[in-house]
């Protein structure tokens, strides 16, 4: 659709899937992966008795013509592991050949040799995971298995952010009649599987150039990585961005790794090669669920004012995660949610473990899950109204003097919370269910009538776009449009999703009377060399991909074109975010307004627990969002409802929770439009687990839950002292 045949183009955008591309002489590729999470690899080869058919090849680290690693934000990642194994599943080599079935058979015949002087797992563990392991015997005799050294499992802190304001320790240690300290431990390990095309790459040599087709998000990184690994000059690398499955921080850089591996195979065989990960590899390596544990200690005054907050965030970053610091920073920024206590200590740290780097679908959702559950717990234990608690503690405007380091413009937050409470009849139901929860232990447990257990909870949060706190990019979001003729427009950006495209098309038609069929996209990212010459850094095309920022910039571009009295074609207009907005964030002090704009959302979830089947039934979800001016209500509503369905598919393991009654409303506003794609992920899980906690009369502190968790929790709640009411 967007392919151009201009001579000097190096980047194209295509509507097709890379896995649908094929040529007559194409070879398939499979990756050979380490079955062990650690150890030192000394040799990789084929079983001596195995016959490798003609036309089949195996390439490993020794076959790499250029650098043996790719660089992502300073972090080196081996193309093929050659030495210390980082995690189970780390790539050791690539097998290519014309028949996929034969490749899978050959994969089983790959032999690994580990350094036998190192402490290793018990032999039966090895043989369970891999049949053809060759363990080099010690002194000619097979040595006895040695128990695994515990020290090897200790994780290493690779990124940390500590923020302190005021004297939180003093406040938290003080015990007075007027205040209480409440502690909560929260864990969110929900896994979201888009269930789309798995990651992979198609490469071929043509006309002296190497052509790469991949669902790439970070084009310049892929180009640089392939150039450094293969030794092919950057201008000879032609990249076609194919249809992708959506945002995935892992895919940002892992596609470059896959491309580097495939290109090595293409260069060595001279034939086109298609590498497509299996569904299992996709789930275990690319989409491994995040492990984030958050501990909150909150000192609350009897009036409901939060006096101090101590937040500890432990993030398992896996092995060699280049975005560990970015993720830690982002978690720290959102860790207190919409609340701004005077005294706060936030410690966020990422630990390196022998696991693949995790896939975080919505980066703020884990911390919002923790803080909103904590607020709900405070409300339950102190008897304060959840609405009042939020009203008293919501974050202040940047103009207010406060020690709290972050400012978020959450607009009509109070009105949104009141609206959602009114819509869902929250105040009345909360009081009734709370009474029912408290009095449950007075009921006769053998009563013939067992009323359904019900709960309702409220959660709120924000979604920030145009994040300024990233370590990786000195971002300067900008957008350029070109009008080659009066009725045509070219937007120099990657094409957005269909719903956003509809909004943009409507804006363009309204402002300039240009029809949708005359709108096209054209994107050519700058090369690393050009960027370095201009003093810019990498990842710009991803980080400036915040769609709401682009929408604002597009609106400004269209207004400029409309204002011009004399239009000379072709006309080019470029708009940037003003420097004054960027200067609101101080990266050295890690303080200020970290987002260019923020939308706010409040959500209530009401559910009922069937006392016979111990399964939850959602009675209703109400969501109210303040996202500035809504350019097109129906697509926005559909986006939110779709996000609700996707989110509900993650809260119970291996089960999709449905809700028949989902109400979505937007606050009326003339402010600039804000992003709403991820806000549901930040507010719905906390509201769900808090409502479940009320229904069960015991705290649900971890998601996802299992189908039998509810039975275990409810039985435990009946027979033990209710921990939610001290």
């Amino acid at each position: 659709m967007h392919r151009k045949t201009t001579k000097n183009r190096h980047t194209f955008i295509s509507d097709e899937f890379y896995s649908d591309i094929s040529t007559g002489d194409m070879l398939y590729a499979v990756l050979v992966r380490s079955p062990f999470p650690y150890g030192t690899l000394t040799d990789v080869s084929f079983d001596k008795e195995a016959k490798i058919p003609d036309g089949y090849h195996f390439f490993s680290a020794k076959d790499i013509p250029g650098k043996k690693y790719i660089r992502t934000l300073g972090q080196k990642t081996s193309v093929f592991c050659n030495g210390k194994i980082g995690y189970k599943g780390e790539c050791i080599g690539i097998l290519v050949g014309p028949d996929k079935k034969v490749l899978h058979e050959l994969k089983k015949k790959v032999m690994f040799s580990l350094d036998s002087t190192e402490i290793i797992r018990q032999e039966h563990e090895f043989s369970k995971s891999y049949d053809s392991l060759a363990v080099v015997p010690k002194n000619g005799k097979p040595h006895k298995a040695v128990l695994f050294d515990e020290q090897e499992t200790q994780s290493e802190i690779i990124a940390e952010r500590i923020i302190t304001a005021g004297t939180p320790d003093q406040i938290l240690k003080k015990r007075t009649e007027d205040s209480v300290v409440i502690e909560g431990n929260w864990k969110d390990m929900r896994q979201y599987h888009p269930n789309k095309e798995t990651a992979g790459v198609f490469c071929q040599m043509k006309g002296g150039n190497i052509h790469i087709y991949a669902p790439v998000l970070w084009i310049s990184h892929l180009r640089t990585s392939v150039a450094e690994v293969t030794g092919i000059p950057e201008e000879k690398i032609i990249i076609t961005r194919t249809k992708n499955a959506g945002e995935n921080l892992n895919l940002l850089w892992q596609v470059s790794l896959l491309a580097a591996r495939t290109c090595i195979a293409t260069c060595r065989t001279g034939k086109p090669v298609l590498l497509q990960l299996s569904r299992r590899e996709q789930e275990q390596i690319i989409e491994r669920p995040p492990e984030i544990a958050i501990r909150h200690r909150t000192a609350v005054h009897k009036t409901g004012k939060i006096m101090a907050m101590d937040v500890l965030i432990e993030f398992n970053a896996g092995f060699g995660n280049p975005f560990a610091m970015d993720i830690v920073n982002r978690l720290a920024v959102a860790s207190c949610g919409i609340y701004s206590p005077e005294h706060v200590r936030i410690r966020a740290r990422a630990t390196q473990t022998h696991n693949p780097p995790p896939y975080i679908h919505s980066i703020d959702s884990q911390v919002f899950y923790a803080v909103e559950n904590q607020i709900q717990k405070i409300a339950e234990m102190t008897g304060l109204s959840p609405i009042e608690l939020r009203r008293i503690n919501k974050c202040r405007l940047p103009t207010t003097k406060t020690a709290f380091p972050f400012f978020f413009d959450i607009g009509k937050a109070e009105d949104a919370v009141s609206a959602v409470a009114k819509k869902s009849d929250f105040t009345r139901k909360y009081a009734v269910y709370r009474l029912a929860e408290k009095g449950r232990y007075e009921y006769n447990s053998n009563a013939p009538f067992s009323p359904p257990l019900r709960g309702i909870a409220l959660a709120c949060g924000f979604e920030g776009s145009g994040y300024l706190g990233t370590e990786s990019a000195k971002m300067s979001p900008s957008l350029q449009i070109t009008l080659p003729e009066e009725n045509k427009i070219v937007i120099h950006s990657v094409p957005p999703s269909q719903s956003i495209l509809e909004i943009w098309a409507k804006m363009i038609t309204d402002e300039l009377s240009i029809e949708k069929k005359n709108i096209s996209f054209d994107f050519e990212p700058e090369t690393e060399l050009a960027k370095k010459a201009q003093g810019k850094d990498a990842a710009q095309e991803f980080y400036s991909d915040d769609i709401s920022i682009k929408t604002i910039l597009l609106k400004k571009c269209l207004a400029t074109v409309k204002r011009k009295k004399e239009k000379a074609f072709p006309m080019t207009v470029r708009k940037n975010i003003p420097p004054s907005k960027k200067s609101q964030w101080n990266h050295e002090l890690f303080r200020g307004t970290p987002f260019l704009n923020t939308s706010f959302g409040a959500c209530t979830v009401e559910l009922e627990l069937d006392a016979c089947t111990y399964r939850e039934k959602l009675l209703g979800i109400c969501i109210v969002i303040d996202a500035g001016k809504i350019l097109s209500i129906k697509p926005a509503e559909n986006t939110v409802k779709l996000a609700v369905e996707q989110c509900l598919s993650t809260v119970v393991d291996e089960e999709i929770v449905r809700c028949a009654s989902v109400s979505v409303q937007f606050m009326q506003s003339e402010k600039e439009p804000k992003q709403i794609g991820h806000i549901v992920y930040s507010i719905l899980p906390a509201a769900f687990s808090s409502a479940l906690s009320q229904a069960l009369a015991t705290t649900v502190s971890k998601l996802p839950i299992q189908t039998d968790t509810l039975y275990e929790l409810s039985e435990g709640g009946l027979h033990h002292e209710n921990p939610r009411h001290s």
Partner: protein, 162 residues
């Protein structure tokens, strides 16, 4: 092995090993509407019509389709029932991701063949059977209802009567 089939209404002889997956055979013949999904026959991304019934082609060995009629989305989308369904999806404002197209279209076709007017329960069961989350349930169900209306209009039938 040479296997005679009727592929998209044309008599064809496909060359495949008897245990080769029908999905792989079709993709080898450049029929790309069938996509690799779970590989276990549960996700439905590889659905085709085998003797007019939707089946997951990833668990059908090629040896079993001798003399069978295989219809894929490429051909089905040009037929009248296919046009009814795709038009219905369009009327509901659905934008398919490209990966689940075959499953959504063929599941809808099977439902409309089975029943003149699908009930709310049947629609719920249909929506539940689609694991892809590119489209929300309500929009998909609306799409099926539009498809139903299109089919009735084309057939000129009212209340099941000619």
């Amino acid at each position: 092995m040479k296997i005679p089939v009727i592929l998209n209404n044309e008599k064809t002889i496909i060359d495949a090993a008897p245990d080769e997956r029908l999905l792989d055979v079709l993709r080898r013949y450049k029929i790309l509407s069938v996509k690799e999904g779970c590989g276990k026959g549960t996700c439905g991304f590889c659905t085709v019509l085998l003797d007019k019934r939707p089946v997951p082609s990833c668990i059908i060995p090629a040896g079993l389709v001798r003399d069978a009629s295989i219809e894929t989305l490429e051909s089905f989308s040009k037929t009248k029932p296919g046009i009814d369904i795709l038009k219905g999806f369009d009327q509901a404002g659905m934008t398919l991701c490209g990966y689940c197209n075959a499953q959504r279209v063929f599941s809808t076709y099977a439902l409309l063949e089975r029943t003149y007017r699908p009930s709310a329960e049947e629609l719920d069961v249909l929506a539940d059977s689609i694991p892809c989350t590119c489209t929300d349930r309500k929009t998909f169900i609306n799409g099926v209802l539009y498809a139903t209306a299109n089919k009735h209009e084309r057939e000129g039938r009212k209340n099941g009567l000619v």
